[in-house]
Structure formats: C-alpha cells, structure tokens
C-alpha cells in the first residue's frame, strides 16, 4: 500500500492544523471506506498506526539478525585466530580463553546490530544521502498534518466532502 517513492501519481490531500483533528478524520475515513494513501506529520503521532492498519515494524528482527552476525563474527574469529591461525600463550592462560573474548564479542554484537539496523531502516524507507522523495507540502515538516488519497482510488467528490466535514484547513491536488 505504501512505497517510499511515488511516481506520476495524482494525489488529493488535506491539511489539518492539529493531530487530534487529523486522527478523528482518519477514523471518519475508515468509516466512510475511503482508502487513505498515506498520512504525513511533523512528528510521530501515537495511536495512528492501528487506524491506518499499519503492522508493527519488524526492524527489531533485522537488529537481532545483524547482532547475531556480530556475535558470531567476533567469537568465531577470535577462536580461529587464537587456536588455529596463530596460537600464543598470554600470561599462562589457555589459548581459548573465553572470558577474555566476552568484551569484544559484546562490542561487535552492538556494532553490527546498530549498523545493520540503520542501513535496513534507510533502505526500506527509501531514504539515503542525496535521495529526493516527492513531498506534498513544505509545511508538513512544520505544523501541518496531511491525509493523502490516491485520486485513481477514490471518488473525488466524496473525498472533498470528507475533508470539508472533518475540518481540513486546506485541500489541494498534486502529481507526485
């Protein structure tokens, strides 16, 4: 339903002045069976996700997978180096001195998890250095809350009366 980059899509959108009015409008749209394309806001609005039918993010799965890779890389790497590749006795300790490996194993777990998760986040959101995603209105990052509909998906007059009824301060159309 939602992709980061929309191309050549006719969008009709309404701007609201307050997130609570916007939330009520989203509830109304659900009642009216209007298929919302996306909602844009200057900050995360809590309670909006279930109304839009957004599933919980699975980013933590990526974090776990990358973290586990870090754990294995560090621990198996040190094990191989100190038991197979170049065994050296330090301070009369065994070659495979597991407690001494714990700090680096922990650090690499965190490092891999963080880098992996951040890269995953930017990739699945279609964000990155120099990326320009089309956006509807400059004031969305300031103080406006925007509900957008794909024009090909909805009845325009129904949407316009919906915006009027729910207190949108502005209604515009744009091709993005």
């Amino acid at each position: 339903m939602r992709k980061a980059v929309h191309r050549n899509m006719d969008v009709v959108y309404g701007l609201y002045d307050d997130e609570e009015i916007m939330m009520d409008a989203v509830k109304q749209a659900n009642k009216d069976h209007l298929d919302i394309m996306d909602v844009y806001s200057p900050f995360p609005v809590h309670g909006l996700d279930p109304l839009l039918g957004l599933e919980e993010s699975r980013l933590h799965v990526a974090g776990f997978v990358f973290g586990s890779m870090g754990t294995l890389t560090a621990f198996l790497g040190m094990t191989w180096i100190f038991t197979k590749d170049w065994p050296i006795i330090f301070g009369g300790k065994p070659y495979w001195s597991v407690p001494a490996f714990i700090p680096i194993t922990f650090e690499l777990t965190v490092l891999f998890a963080a880098i992996g998760m951040v890269v995953t986040f930017y990739t699945i959101c279609g964000l990155g250095p120099g990326v320009t995603n089309p956006y509807l209105d400059d004031r969305i990052t300031d103080d406006k809350f925007c509900i957008a509909f794909d024009k090909s998906n909805v009845d325009l007059s129904a949407v316009e009366s919906f915006f009027a009824a729910t207190g949108a301060s502005e209604v515009n159309q744009k091709t993005i």
């Binding site: 200057p42 100190f82 650090e107 690499l108 490092l111 963080a114 998760m117 951040v118 990052t141």
Partner: protein, 474 residues
C-alpha cells in the same frame, strides 16, 4: 494525547508555544547571521585548537620524548585527558538512550546537544591513545585485519584492545543514533530553505517525507538503538576501567572500578552538559525549551552520581585499610598525603563536597550557581583521573624508581587544543543543526507544554474534563 500527566508536574515547554512557533524558535538560529559572540567564540576556539594541532605535530615530529613521561610514570596527562573526555561523552548517551527507555520526557530538551557533545568528546578522546602510541602512523596495527606480518594479530586478551573496540563501537553507534534523530529536523530546515541551502539540506535530510510508516519505523529504530546503546555506554567505561583494574598496580587492581568509573563518567558528563547548555540556552534564547525544570533534573542526576562517586572514594579508602595489604595501604596514603596531595584534595573537594549543595532545591534551580558547580565538577573529575594515573604510578613498589611528573608545554598544549577542537565542533554544530530536537519537542508539547499541564492548569484541566463529560451526556 494518551499519556497521563500529573497536573502538578512542571511544564517542559513554556511560553504557550504552537507547533509553528517551535519550528521558528529552534530552526531560526541556523538561518540567522551568527551573532558577534559566536564569531568571537569560534575565533578563540580555532586559535586554541591551532596551538593544540601545533603541539600534536611537535609530538609526532620529535617523538613523545617531548613529554615529561618517564620509566616510572608511563601514563600522564595523555591518558588522564583520554579518560576525562571519554567520561564526558557518557552523559549524552545516558540522556539520549537510558532516559528514552525510562520515558523521561525532559530528555527531549537536551538530548540533541548532549549527543553532539558525546560525539565531539569521543573525537577529542580518541586523539590521546593515538599519539600515546608514539608512532601513530602505525595506528592501524591495533585493528585485526589480514596483513603481511604473519598475519600477526592484536592481543584479544588485552583490555587496551577491548578499549579500541569499545570506543570505535561507541563512536559509530552514537553517530548513527544522533543522525537518525537529525534526519526529520534537517527535512524541516530543507522545507524552509531556498537555493543552495535547500540543496544541501535536501542531501542531508535523506529525502525524508514524514510518512506515517516512516515515523513508525523511526520510533522503532530509536527505541532499539537506545536499548543497545544503554549496555554499550555502561560497557565502554567499564572497559576503560579494565585498563587499570586488570593490572597488578596497588590502587588500580580493584573490583570497584567498573561501577565507580561509570558513575564518575555520568557525573562529569552531566557537568559538561550543564556547562554547555546553560551558555547555549542563554545565547540562543532557548529558555522556553531548556527550562529550570531541566536544569534541576540534571542537577538531581549530578547529586546522585556524585554521591555514588563519593561513596566509592570512601569505600576504596576503607578497603585499602581493611585489606591489611601494605602496598595497597601505601598507595592510598600516598594519594592523600604524598607529593600530589593537592590533586587528591581538589578531587575530594570538587567531587564529593560540592555536589552535596544540590540537596537544596533553591540551589538546584539557581542557574548561576549550577554553572559554577558544573565547572568545579569538570575540574574535580579531571583531578580524579590524574590522581588515579600519575599519583599511583609515581610511587611504585621500588623506592629507587620513585619519580615525579609534571607536564611539559607540549602536553598542556595538546590538552588545551582538544578543548579548542571540542568548541570548534560544538559551535559549528549550533549553526548547522537545531540544538534542540524539533520533532521530539513537538511530540511532547501536549503532555509537557505549559498551556496543557502544570500547576496553573490543574484547575483548567478539571474544567475541561467536566465539559467533556457534559458533552458526552448530550
């Protein structure tokens, strides 16, 4: 909003702000011509940094013989400054990560600048182990990469190598966390800008649109990064303390070191956050966002961690006596009454006595007093590291190798230079990014803004409830 807020809790955003006013207040410092005070500050910082850079080159050119280190005292100002800077960094991660997990809303006023402070402090810290190696052009030898020297690997059992991993991970994770928070705010700047400025911020904002799904993932990312940064920050200073604690030097070889170092790090870091924020809030007129309530909250953390540090000092003293081990006893006798007694006195005075003033609510809420206290604590925590390092080394097992150490102009120059570098970076940061997280402040406005909460609104709130009930009845 859904969160329940006590009507007697003090507001975190004052001045009856609207969302647009928040944008104006926080973004406009990056759009204005810099004030004269900023320009003067930058020039002074660049001068001090340049002198530090000269001293660094002097060290690299002539070798660390230009320092006053000797066979007995192998760690002096270099490692003292390293631990000091790393410690300062810890407050930023505490504010951004640990307070996020604890749902402390006051963090939103200070987290951006505190995290910037973390990153810049770690950059300053990282200089010291590099130059301390002596031949810093071989610094890459500390990383385990396949090489033509065998391959010869670093010693993974050494706390010094753990430190390499801890600090590089800490730096990377802090930068990623900080930047993820900056992306939506850069988008706000982008959408207000024109011309070249718009292009630059378009690049920096990564194409952020504010879509609901992106916000959901962004919050998920922040929470998980906070979750992993929390044990990370505790591990970093724990590992720094291992540099000392795993040795067999009396006064270093103690199990109390990890918690004692972590508490000390947070203590010194909050002092530096206060030093910076009290000046920043004044110069950028951010009194509505970094309120007295924020200052008081930070002073409470200082009081708590300062008291932990004080208890740790006394525990160390007690245990050295109770151990019955003469070398341990001598190490502490020497710290308090030896040739460096003044640094021990400075440490005790600044770190143990001075934070106790913050039991008084009046003093906790006094900006000028807090500012001076924060400077005291910065100095005290520097003395602490100097006491642990130089004082302990100066009197080792063999009286024939006892020695004295004082820094040369080169060592002092490098320290002053890192302070210069820190302020160059911080001043630049205040010009290119909002020093208070714009999106996060907006998200707490309705639960922390003075028009919605606070003692004055308790009455109004109850009325609002009655109105709502009356409305429901209809």
């Amino acid at each position: 909003m859904s969160a329940v807020v006590s009507p007697i809790r003090e507001p975190l955003v004052t001045g009856g702000k609207t969302y647009h006013q928040i944008t104006e207040d926080l973004i406009s410092p990056t759009e204005r011509t810099p004030p004269a005070s900023w320009v003067i500050g930058l020039i002074l910082s660049i001068i001090t940094f340049s002198f530090g850079a000269f001293c660094l080159l002097w060290t690299i050119w002539h070798g660390i013989g230009t320092w006053d280190l000797n066979r007995t005292i192998g760690w002096g100002w270099d490692i003292t400054n390293f631990v000091w800077w790393i410690g300062i960094g810890h407050a930023g991660t505490l504010i951004s990560a640990i307070l996020l997990l604890f749902r402390q809303k006051w963090r939103t006023g200070v987290n951006r600048a505190a995290e910037a402070m973390t990153i810049f402090a770690v950059m300053c810290a990282a200089i010291y182990p590099g130059i301390h190696m002596g031949r810093m052009w071989m610094a890459m030898f500390i990383f385990p990469y396949p090489n033509t020297r065998g391959p010869l690997w670093p010693n993974f059992n050494s706390p010094l190598l753990w430190d390499v991993f801890a600090i590089s991970t800490y730096f990377t994770v802090s930068v990623l966390f900080w930047y993820a928070g900056l992306v939506p705010d850069f988008a706000t700047i982008r959408d207000r800008a024109t011309g070249l400025r718009k292009n630059i911020y378009n690049f920096l904002s990564f194409g952020w649109t504010g879509s609901a799904k992106h916000w959901q993932r962004w919050e998920s990312l922040s929470l998980i990064l906070a979750g992993i940064a929390t044990p990370l920050v505790l591990s970093v200073h724990t590992i720094v303390s291992f540099d000392f604690a795993t040795s067999v030097i009396p006064g270093w070889h103690t199990t109390i070191f990890p918690p004692y170092f972590v508490a000390g790090a947070i203590f010194s870091g909050f002092a530096m956050v206060l030093t910076l924020m009290l000046v920043t809030r004044k110069l950028l007129s951010l009194e509505d966002y970094i309120t007295i309530e924020h200052v008081e909250s930070m002073n409470k953390v200082i009081l708590a961690t300062g008291s932990i540090v004080g208890v740790a000092y006394l525990t160390e003293l007690f245990i050295s006596w109770y151990s019955g081990y003469v070398y341990e006893q001598f190490a502490f006798f020497n710290r308090a009454l030896g040739p460096y007694w003044w640094s021990y006195f400075g440490m005790m005075f600044c770190n143990v006595l001075s934070p106790q003033f913050f039991w008084s609510k009046k003093l906790r809420r006094n900006v000028l007093f807090t500012f001076f206290m924060s400077i005291f604590i910065n100095i005290g925590m520097w003395f602490e590291r100097f006491v642990i390092i130089a004082t302990t080394l100066a009197r080792d097992y063999l009286p024939s190798s006892w020695s004295f150490y004082s820094p040369t102009w080169v060592e002092i120059g490098i320290f002053v230079g890192t302070i210069g570098l820190f302020f160059v970076l911080y001043l630049a940061f205040t010009r290119v990014a909002p020093v208070v997280a714009v999106a996060e402040i907006k998200s707490i406005l309705k639960t922390g803004g003075d028009q919605y909460v606070g003692p004055k609104n308790a009455h109004k709130m109850s009325h609002a409830h009655e109105d709502a009930h009356a409305h429901d009845a209809h």
